[in-house]
Amino acid sequence: MTVTTAVPNVAEAVEATVASHLHPAASFDLADHPVPNGREEVWRFTPLRRLRGLFDGAPSDARLGWHANAVDGVTRREVTTAEAIALGVPAPVDRTSALAVANAGGAVLFEVAAGRELTEPLVIELHGDDADKLVYGQVVFKVGANAQATIVLRHTGSARYLSSVSLLVEEGAHLNFVGLQDWADDAVQVGHVGLKIGRDARVRTVTASLGGDLVRLTETTEYDGPGGELEQFGLYFVNAGQHIEHRLFVDHNEPHTRSRVDYRGALQGKGAHSVWIGDVLIRKVAEGINTYESNKNLVLTDGCRADSVPNLEIETGEIEGAGHSSTTGRFDDEQLFYLRSRGIPEDEARRLVVHGFFADIIRRIGVPEVEQRLLVAVEKELEIIVGLSSGSRTDPLEVQ
């Protein structure tokens, strides 16, 4: 299935529309986020029982293990919840992210000084050691005006983790952010990554979700001035029994802003479930913006489910462009035929196609060490695919 939306000029048509879920009531107040029952638009794809009580809001002062490298031009300090909010972090959009902020007991704040160009990536490793341990965490990154930074945030191990990550990118700054969900099989993470992009700032994010029993990330973007640019890339592998959900919301609330989203996933094994939601709101003030969202899913075996829902709400027709596409399918027979017609065996051809599908995203990360690690992860997943495909060769054409 392929859905492509051209640029409709629907400014008037939409103004009388009913309230849509693309106008989330963001709020720090828990009372504004009642406990979901699972039928809500923003929760209907998530298997709530596998959240293992994360809605309850039970207090916990457990922490993930931390390691961050020291980088010139970056300061780290603890701030209170109130101080974090005062910094202007994007407000929580659902109960889980509101709980993360309310119960984390303050945030860890990393600041990149204005005008600084970091000479090496800031790499933060978060590690959980117990799948039953309930952990709330809030991390705030503030990239000062005209600064340039690459930040890697990597999660490993296991926990029941409610997270809030804020990326405040000030005027003219460039941020390259890599978020890795490299959890053990029994981890549960429900998180909010909130981006605020200042005037003429440029942000590229790469989100890679590989492990975990259930990972649900809501990635929201708002602009804090005209001219901001966002590129978001994502990749995910979903194996048997895993639920991996990425919910993106780009709020074009300023004119002449841009957004490009490209998420790709591969699913294999019984009960593998991926969800990708790509919501884009183009507000009436957002003239001259340009947005395109794409999600591609490669379904490698029977018994998988890939939900992919792009939504575009347009309140002004005075824009440069807006579109989205979503494709979910098995291997492209034509690609396999082409490679095999050059003598490449079927297993190897499949390996090349999947490798290429992800390498296309990985090569944009720009942190060699992370690129290498992800390519190794792709290779690891591919071993499983190659193993499967050797038992499912297609029969050659027979002469009757």
């Binding site: 003598g343 065996p345 051809a349 599908f357 054409l397």
Partner: protein, 255 residues
């Protein structure tokens, strides 16, 4: 001396409304050192012939045989046919994002020869082949066919022909969509391949234009799923003057 022999080949294409017979008994033998041109109007089944020999899953061989030096190709998988010595230059080469031309070529060469090529000489060989065909050095690092123009895709097919050097090559309308300079460069590549003397060529084309550059030893006129006339290069000259009409009408009378 090698031989590609097509005997009484019948092929169905699988459509949504069921199988439809496209090839209705094709007989053709290509010996090594020979260039054969297959010419015919649109929809005559020329491309079906190419793709069914290569083993495309959309086509079903219902009877007949294709052998390469006595090996029955129709019993082999797509990649096994290539390893037996067959190559198909496609009319619409497929884009494979994220797989570089260099990686693809190395993987194919390794599969065909059973061992990885020597890194040092191979890289030089690849760059030289790309350059000869008018693709600059950056193409080796680009995703296979992705974002290539129509002409660049065709050049890339012929670069592969030279690098992989199969016993028999089928060129499916390689000339279509090429401007005059590209046509000349691509033809020179095919001629270099044939000048080895022991390679066979099946050149499928709609137009006689490419035959100004690649001289066929035999010309076969293809209408309605089979060969209706055969001759030497002079047959192509007659087609240039008379067109396919005469053969199409004759085929209708026969039917």
């Amino acid at each position: 001396m090698s031989e590609l022999r097509i005997s009484d080949l019948h092929v169905d294409v699988l459509t949504e409304t069921g199988p439809k017979e496209i090839l209705k008994g094709v007989n053709l033998t290509v010996g090594s050192g020979e260039a054969h041109a297959i010419m015919g109007p649109n929809g005559s089944g020329k491309s079906t012939l190419a793709y069914s020999i290569a083993g495309h899953p959309k086509y079903k061989i219902t009877s007949g045989s294709v052998t390469l030096d006595g090996v029955e190709l129709t019993h082999l998988k797509v990649d096994e046919r290539a390893r037996a010595g067959l190559f198909l230059a496609m009319q619409y080469p497929i884009e494979v994002p994220g797989v570089s031309v260099a990686n693809f070529l190395r993987t194919a060469k390794t599969a065909l020869s059973g061992e990885a090529p020597k890194v040092r000489t191979w890289v030089k060989e690849v760059n030289a082949a790309l350059e000869r065909i008018g693709l600059d050095g950056t193409f080796a690092a680009r995703s296979l066919n992705e974002g290539f123009s129509g002409g660049e895709k065709k050049r890339n097919e012929i670069a592969q022909l030279e690098l992989l050097n199969p016993k028999f090559a089928i060129l499916d309308e390689t000339d279509s969509g090429l401007d005059i300079d590209a046509l000349r460069i691509v033809s020179e590549g095919v001629n270099r391949y044939m000048e080895q003397g022991d390679r066979g060529l099946l050149l499928i084309t709609h137009y006689t234009r490419i035959l100004n550059y690649i001289k066929p030893d035999f010309v076969h006129v293809f209408v309605d799923g089979h060969i209706v006339a055969e001759g030497g290069p002079e047959l192509a000259d007659r087609l240039e003057v008379d067109g396919y009409d005469r053969f199409v009408k004759a085929a209708k009378v026969d039917a």
